[in-house]
Symmetry: C2
Subunit: 371 residues, 2 copies
């Protein structure tokens, strides 16, 4: 359960969803900068992950089809001149070094490319590179404070908590249906075994509340929690716990795993989130839904599938694969139709949750930088 503001995996979207993505991008551009012609896309630094690069290729293609000139500017120090990178599907990407432009060097672009908008697909886990700062009359999206150097899962889920509660009241459902329990815990040091007691108490608290809900709804499974680095991303710094005692006996390997997240950052704050059993299956393998949005539009999604993992495990791990368009995305319910005439449609529900999460993200970003 998470909200990614720098999504990878656009290449996992089914080609059938592309028109929707292109149209959403067109609407987004029209709102932000109707005159936009040039867009600079800044990907993650790691240039050798062809899976990620296919995501960039797909994203660039969506934006091109929306009518923009799209070029790629990299933060990588290794790329000192425009460099073609071949992709496994036969396509290729031109990666170019970023450059400050203008007499006062107030704008960001490429040597011969002055963009009106800049789209970050780099989550800034390592902090803000100076080349991105103090831009003059250019739109940078998402804003710099949306990077993981600022973002905290706890802030996001606090905002989501508010949004989900208000929404649940409006549609008269138990907010727990769309909002798992969580609690955050600071000053944890897995290496030095500091804060273990507080962490155990927090885990116990979430497990107890979840167990109560399980009893209320007659759910027979055993509650569990997922312990996550509060500033972590990329599936790193994540651990599944179903008994607080487990935290006492963590071996060195597990402690190392939890200590360091992307870009080598050390973990001190963690989020303890109620685990949600992955009940959906694709070809007998557990599958969890991933929903994609562009601007305020749900454009598609897919299942993340892991054949070697159980329903209570983190599927964002090596060995996972993706099954695009397992969603029945076409049967949007019609309020005017007779009740029961449409087939059950999980994707619609996931889309609602994704839209609530987007609302929560905007609250979260507003609070972490009101400007």
């Amino acid at each position: 359960v998470d909200t990614n503001l720098f999504p990878g995996g656009f290449n996992n979207l089914s080609p059938q969803m592309l028109p929707l993505a292109v149209q959403a991008a067109m609407a987004a551009i029209e709102k932000i900068c109707p005159e936009a012609k040039n867009l600079l896309l800044i990907p993650e630094r790691h240039t050798r992950n062809t899976f990620y690069l296919q995501n960039i290729a797909r994203l660039a293609s969506i934006l091109r089809q929306a009518g923009l000139n799209v070029r790629l500017g990299t933060l990588s120090d290794e790329i000192k001149k425009p460099t073609w990178i071949e992709l496994p599907d036969g396509n290729r990407l031109l990666m170019e070094p970023l450059s400050r432009l203008g007499l006062k060097k107030q704008r960001l672009g490429l040597k011969d490319f002055d963009p009106c908008s800049i789209l970050l697909n780099n989550d800034l886990s390592a902090g803000i590179p100076p080349i991105l700062e103090n831009l003059h009359e250019q739109y940078l999206l998402p804003g710099l404070h949306a990077g993981w150097h600022v973002r905290r899962k706890s802030n996001h889920f606090a905002a989501y908590d508010e949004v989900a509660k208000r929404f649940a009241k409006v549609v008269d459902i138990d907010p727990w249906m769309i909002n798992p329990y969580f609690v955050s815990c600071s000053n944890v040091n897995f290496h030095e075994r500091k804060g273990e007691d507080e962490l155990q108490t927090a885990v116990e608290q979430v497990l107890k509340k979840t167990a109560k809900k399980y009893r209320e709804y007659g759910i027979k499974e055993k509650p569990y929690v997922v312990v996550k680095a509060d500033a972590g991303t990329y599936g790193m710094g994540v651990m599944v716990v179903n008994d607080p005692a487990q935290l006492k006996g963590l071996n060195r390997k597990d402690r190392n795993k939890m200590s360091i997240v992307k870009e080598g950052l050390e973990v001190s704050d963690v989020l303890i989130q109620e685990g949600v059993y992955t009940f959906e299956k694709v070809n007998e393998a557990v599958a969890e839904p991933v929903v994609y949005m562009i601007d305020r539009y749900v454009i598609g999604g897919f299942y993340r599938v892991h054949t070697d993992r159980g329903p209570d495990e983190n599927l964002n791990a090596p060995g996972m694969h993706f099954v695009p368009l397992a969603f029945e995305q076409n049967s949007i319910p019609d309020l005017g139709a007779k009740p029961g005439s449409a087939p059950p449609n999980r994707f619609y529900l996931y889309g609602v949750v994704a839209r609530l999460a987007l609302l929560a993200s905007s609250l979260e970003l507003e609070r972490s930088d009101p400007n």
Copy 2:
């Protein structure tokens, strides 16, 4: 070859295209009236055509899914109170009588429904009903002057001619590729056989120009023209001619057919349009593409297929049927991809022509009523 501003046939769109339609409607609403909650949809008067009513049901469903309260107000005198109409697919529509609202009766709505926007799906062939006039602070879309009481095919194609020529210059193609020849002819009276000579001359002119192009491109077929009532719609007042002499010998039946169009209006101006051979086939039957747009977005299309007609005949006729989603709508070309790596994609081309036609319509409407 035509542009309809009050499209029927939304029910022919494949369900796969619905998300695109809903998203386009969302973007359109946000632009026109972001606070819009209530929308009144005004259909054609004929309430017994269940095929047309399924179109209305589909259109209402798209708008509801975009987040609006949608109700149907009818111009029909036969409906004096809210009336449910059953549809063949098991759904039903509530058709309600229109009503002027407010102390000064300045707004249009239903007895208990004050809409911020009103969407016309009635082409106003019979003129503007007084109940639609002088609305106060309500958006009426399309504007009243887009109705067929004002619209003329000749104005539309004159505007399309300009747009197509400019576009063809930009992409460096022969404008004839996207713009068939046409000429208009006024003061024709089929009943009284007035204007026959002028009509013959006009037909001859278009046939000659077309023949020249056919020679230039090595096309072996025999040129033909389609004679259409300049103010006609609904597939009425249309005749195929491949020899000017045919116009001399028109029998009474043909002359009657050409004299009267929708709502019993008499024809006096006609458009002579170069006929375009329908080369595409669906299951061995000739098929012509129909493209749908909402706002500025191409949302889908289908083939109009007629098993009993030839490639030079009007397919908008009894016996026609529709094959939704024969288009390969998913392969939007990627300019960044290697040339030749994408399959041929006619739908994309049709979408470009549709967008040019939309541009032409906006020029046409601006000129027929600059306010």
